[in-house]
């Protein structure tokens, strides 16, 4: 038999936690009224920088559940220099991500070779209808404003820092 019975000791722990919560305030926040800031790396929603996209389809192919839909066509753009040949550029007709299917793995953002996709920590985009979770390219483009700058790295890292195109 211990000196202090375990039950009493446990009650002491509970009491001290009550005192802590009353004096220092709770650890939780009341969500709709107060919000916690998600970390910059948090995978909330995918933003599309449309100018960089060449509709190369890499993201759509690498997606593990194939929830990205892309359609595009080639277009002739005016030449860069006067007198040059007109350039052929890829125009994006459709870029949809179905967030009803998305697994938030981030492979599309990782494989994009032209830096057109970015993670934004924004998370408030639930919908009453599941079909509305399909974000088209204008909606995905609007998320670009919420993309935070990339953080600097911990000491000893040899990874090159990246910049978000604005």
């Amino acid at each position: 038999m211990a000196l202090v019975p375990g039950v009493i000791k446990g009650l002491g722990v509970t009491f001290s936690e009550i005192v802590k919560t009353v004096t220092k305030g709770p650890e939780t926040v009341q969500y709709p009224h107060a919000k916690e800031d998600p970390v910059p790396r948090a995978r909330g929603v995918i933003a599309l920088h449309e100018d960089n996209c060449t509709s190369c389809m890499l993201c759509a192919r690498e997606c593990p559940d194939w929830c990205i839909y892309i359609e595009g066509h080639k277009e002739l753009a005016p030449p860069r220099r006067a007198g040059g040949k007109p350039r052929s550029v890829n125009k994006l007709d459709r870029f949809d991500i179905d967030y009803g299917l998305c697994m938030y793995c981030g492979i599309c953002v990782e494989v994009c070779p032209f830096e057109a996709l970015f993670w934004s920590p924004e998370f408030e985009y639930s919908e009453p209808r599941i079909a509305d979770l399909l974000h088209d390219k204008t909606r995905l483009g609007q998320w670009m404003t919420t993309v935070p700058e990339f953080e600097s790295y911990e000491a000893g890292a040899q990874v090159k820092g990246k910049k978000v195109p604005r």
Partner: protein, 394 residues
């Protein structure tokens, strides 16, 4: 005081009770035994596990776990996905310690491809492996209280686990599904200030372990409900293929972190010990896991101090093709031994992946250990075996 009784009496009693239950089944097959369904929707089953229990009064004659209610067919799904895509799927097997699921698969692929991650990647990989162990077992420490009727500990567990999950999120981007491990290294390096922040989070976990020691381990009610209940002797534990803390609680000194020769993790460079307990009862399983969380905190501290500088990615082709061959790599996950047997035919996708998950084998002892116990103890024994349904059904 029940807590101070020698354990051997309880063990003998439960053995006799088991024999008696056996005899009763043999004598009166059509007896007025009552069948009780525990689950599939039962809070104690951590998901959708169904246990059909045949009772004689309060005593269990026969327990039959029925699994598969949450079968998601990962072994088949991965056959039509490329290696980087598989990583996101295997995250979801044991959802409380997700990062630990990725590691054995990545190590198996690295072994087949003959590449090794650079030291910095190995260090950070081990670091996250231990962090996911802390996140997983911390919840167990609180959850065990809930199964015994004490609701308070689980709130403390959720509160303090959040600090670890925040650290995992701020580095990987995902709280539960990090998807951070890559063949040949890691996805990204740590953000600035992460190391100090993690040290602070470990302080919360250390305090939590002390609180649990005061709140639960020393509690007379807890001891009375767990000491000598659900005893698994070492030879039975081994013959049923138990692993992890369940087998260490039976006194078997076996830990894959120390005993396997995996190249991708750096446990051999750390100073740590394997905790065992001779009793093999529910209390021992709780105690071993409590010590393991503390040991993991100790390991993470050492890892944080000694992360080497350098790249985090080895030279890996952009399109990953694993050469033909077979490899089995198992690691000591929070729940026990988890292994992937990868068969490749040289393509973009594996030909076959066999997943050996710890909970499936740990669950197989349930019919043996539940026989002869009483109904309230069924819940505590299941809780102390600590399975996660995603890990059983896959």
């Amino acid at each position: 005081m029940t807590a101070t009784q020698p354990n051997i009496d309880r063990r003998q009693l439960s053995y006799i009770a088991g024999q008696a239950a056996d005899a009763r089944v043999n004598v009166e097959l059509e007896a007025e035994g009552m069948t009780l369904n525990i689950g599939p929707q039962h809070p104690a089953t951590h998901g959708t596990l169904r246990i059909v229990v045949r009772l004689d009064g309060e005593q269990v004659i026969e327990a039959d776990p029925i699994m598969g209610y949450m079968h998601r067919g990962y072994e088949k799904l991965v056959e039509v996905r490329t290696y980087p895509q598989i990583n996101t799927l295997v995250n979801r097997i044991d959802w409380l310690g997700s990062f630990a699921n990725e590691v054995p698969f990545i190590l198996a692929c690295e072994q087949l491809m003959g590449i090794e991650a650079p030291p910095r990647a190995q260090w950070i990989r081990t670091l996250f492996f231990e962090l996911s162990r802390i996140a997983n077992l911390t919840l167990f420490l609180g959850d065990m209280g809930v199964q015994l009727g004490a609701v308070t500990p689980v709130f403390y567990a959720f509160r303090d686990r959040e600090h670890i999950l925040n650290q995992i999120e701020s580095a990987t981007g995902g709280r539960f599904h990090p998807n951070f491990d890559r063949i040949g290294g890691l996805k990204d390096d740590l953000p600035a200030g992460w190391v100090d922040e993690t040290r602070r989070a470990l302080g919360h976990i250390r305090k939590f372990c002390d609180v649990m020691e005061d709140l639960i381990v020393g509690n007379e009610i807890f001891e009375a409900r767990t000491r000598g209940i659900g005893v698994i002797p070492a030879d039975v534990a081994l013959s049923y293929g138990l692993s992890g803390a369940n087998v260490r609680a039976s006194g078997v000194d076996w830990d894959l972190r120390r005993d396997s020769s995996n190249s991708g993790l750096v446990y051999d460079k750390l100073d740590w010990k394997v905790w065992t307990h001779p009793d093999g009862d529910s209390f021992a399983r709780y105690w071993v896991r409590l010590q393991e969380v503390r040991e993991a905190c100790h390991m993470v501290d050492q890892l944080l101090d000694s992360i080497p500088a350098g790249p985090i990615m080895a030279k890996v082709p952009r399109i990953i093709k694993v050469p033909a061959g077979e490899a089995y790599v198992a690691t000591e996950n929070p729940l026990g031994e988890m292994g992937y047997y990868v068969v490749s035919q040289g393509g973009l996708e594996p030909f076959r992946v066999k997943i050996r998950s710890a909970s499936f084998s740990n669950m197989s002892i349930a019919p043996w250990v539940l026989k002869g116990t009483y109904v309230p103890d069924v819940i505590t024994i299941l809780a102390s075996l600590y399975f996660i349904l995603g890990d059983i059904d896959r």
